[in-house]
Amino acid sequence: MRLGSMSLTARVVLSAIVALVTFLGLTGYALERAFYDSAVREMQDRLRSHIHAYLSGSDVSVAGELILPEVSPDPRFDIPHSGLYAAVKGGTNRWRSSSAIGLKLPFDAELARNEERFIGPTDTPAGRVYAESMGIVWEVPNGQPLPLTFHIVEDDTHLRGQLQVFRRTLWIWLTIAAVLVVAVLLTALRWSLMPLRRVERDVARIERGSLELLADDYPTELRTLTHSINDFIDSERAQRIRNRHRMGDLAHSLKTPLAVIRNALENPNESAALEHVVSEQVRRMDDIVAYQLSRAGTAGHTTFSAPVSVSGVAEELVGSLEKVHAARNILCEFELSPDACFFGDRGDLMEILGNVLDNAFKWADRRVLLSTRSIPGRRRDGLEIQVEDDGAGIDDVEIEGILQRGVRGDERVEGHGIGLAIVDNLIHDYRGELQVINSTALGGACFQLRFPALN
């Protein structure tokens, strides 16, 4: 399985297991270490107290000989190889407990007065041992002070037993803790993922049609997502309604010319006019189809759209138009601002500019001027496009006729091409405006297209 497609549950469980193992492992190790240290210290105390017991029960003879207590501080000193051994060394004195007879143990050191030494674990023939040694000087009345070193050695049998018990208890409890933590985690996970399952269920219900939109009560983290899904559903629904309306518009608007033709066919008396009627209605139907096609192909205003450079589109279009109108030798001049961009669909821009430029080429005498300017805005820059020609110009009454504002495709006045009406509609879709004025630079008509900036 690729890591990227791993389920959320698997991700959380996997990372929790890694964290738990690391955490519990380190905890167990640290606790064991601490327990061992304190057990060893405890052993040292015990060995030291054996030395003190020997000391308190001992005496030195006038001859300088050490007399040890009759009863050992611990019966184990008297049992051979019992694991607890004692020895004294100093001057001519050399003694070891009955338990240590015949064993080679670290009893050789002689320490200075009040010097104390604890070593271990050390491996010896008697096993692994810990040794406590202490140097003293025995004050003998009227005699030489007697330097002595006491050694107590114990093997690790007792310590090992302690450690084993501790270790078992520790790991049993750590395992119980781990199981509990994982259980809590899985429950929390299930609980946290519940809203996601709900989104999934609700989207399925929307698909089946038993739900309109996602509810508004999702956790904050999911709200951006659910809002986006709702926006998407809304726009898709709106698009579907728009398409249905367009289909309806198209079908209905074709009915009128069809009715006219049928009527003409059913009145043979006026057959002379038939050809004229049919050709007129065919032209009308062609206009209607072209208009609705252009509407169906447009993307329209969107909140998020990449900028399209006007100059690229303009150059392509002018290249084509100069080819088509080659016979008339029309010169198209550019005054393009390099940062002028159109925020929308490239095809829409091409449709707008194509129709306006084509119109200018048709009416121009010799020259066409295309200028663009960017209108600065805080969130998004606006755009102003001007297309001017040196033709005869257009008067106000004609403008209304050309643009056919607010008139539906099937109700348009006859006699004008449909291109500029399409342009006007498209610009409105982008919340822009189209104005037709007189060109001051060239003297003909000037089409001024303005797309507002976003602030």
Binding site: A290, S320, A327, R346, G347, M350
Partner: protein, 226 residues
């Protein structure tokens, strides 16, 4: 004028071809892109009409291939697509003009006329060579401002010669560009036409517009005024 017409819609192709022939064009029609490419390679056309949506090979591909192989004659594209994006793309592949379906045949004829003129270097629809004026739009001829009455074929021969004024036009060129394929090329009909044209245009033998280049063909001898 010899025209290549590539259109898959049979009724449109047939009515268009019939109309173009009535207008005096020699028409070779093809129903798909591959047939169009074959004809386009074999025949020296004066102009081509190519539909963009074709079976076997799209119109765009056909134009691109013809242009790559060196075809220089003007191409007019027919398209049902109205968007500027499509028009610009079509013109970029090497077409010279476009016409959106449905269209008026008169519009098509005017565009063809203009394309052929432009390709032969005439910018205006009226060809002027000295005292002779040929109006390609009205299809009329005047000599010293006096209208000359010509038959359709005579007009076509004269138009072809005047479009190529100053150039040598072989008999083969003339027959290929003026007549349908089934025309009998061995007959001396062409010579008869030229003879009749000379008598009609220049009854007194003063301006001598059409020159015979022995064994090679004809040349329109009066230089262009335009």
């Amino acid at each position: 004028m010899r025209i290549l017409l590539v259109e898959d819609e049979a009724p449109l192709r047939e009515t268009l071809a019939a109309r173009l022939r009535r207008e005096g064009y020699a028409v070779d029609a093809a129903a798909d892109g591959e047939e169009g490419l074959y004809l386009g390679r074999e025949v020296p056309f004066d102009v081509a009409i190519i539909d963009l949506g074709l079976p076997k090979m799209s119109g765009m591909e056909l134009i691109t291939t013809l242009r790559e192989e060196g075809a220089r004659y003007p191409v007019l594209i027919l398209t049902a697509r109205t968007s500027w994006q499509d028009k610009v793309e079509g013109l970029k592949t090497g077409a010279d003009d476009y016409l959106v379906k449905p269209f008026h045949v008169e519009e098509l004829l005017a565009r063809l006329n203009a394309l052929v003129r432009r390709a032969t270097g005439w910018s205006k629809p009226v060809l002027e060579c000295g005292p002779m004026v040929l109006d390609t739009t009205a299809q009329t001829v005047t000599v010293n401002a006096k209208a000359i009455d010509l038959t359709s074929y005579e007009y076509k021969v004269l138009e072809y010669l005047m479009l190529h004024a100053g150039e040598l036009v072989s008999k083969a060129d003339l027959t290929e560009h003026i007549y349908q394929q089934d025309f009998d090329r061995d007959s001396n009909v062409l010579e008869v036409f030229i003879g009749r044209l000379r008598r009609k245009l220049d009854p007194d033998g003063e301006i001598k517009p059409i020159e015979t280049v022995r064994g090679r063909g004809y040349r329109f001898a009066i230089p262009r005024t335009e």
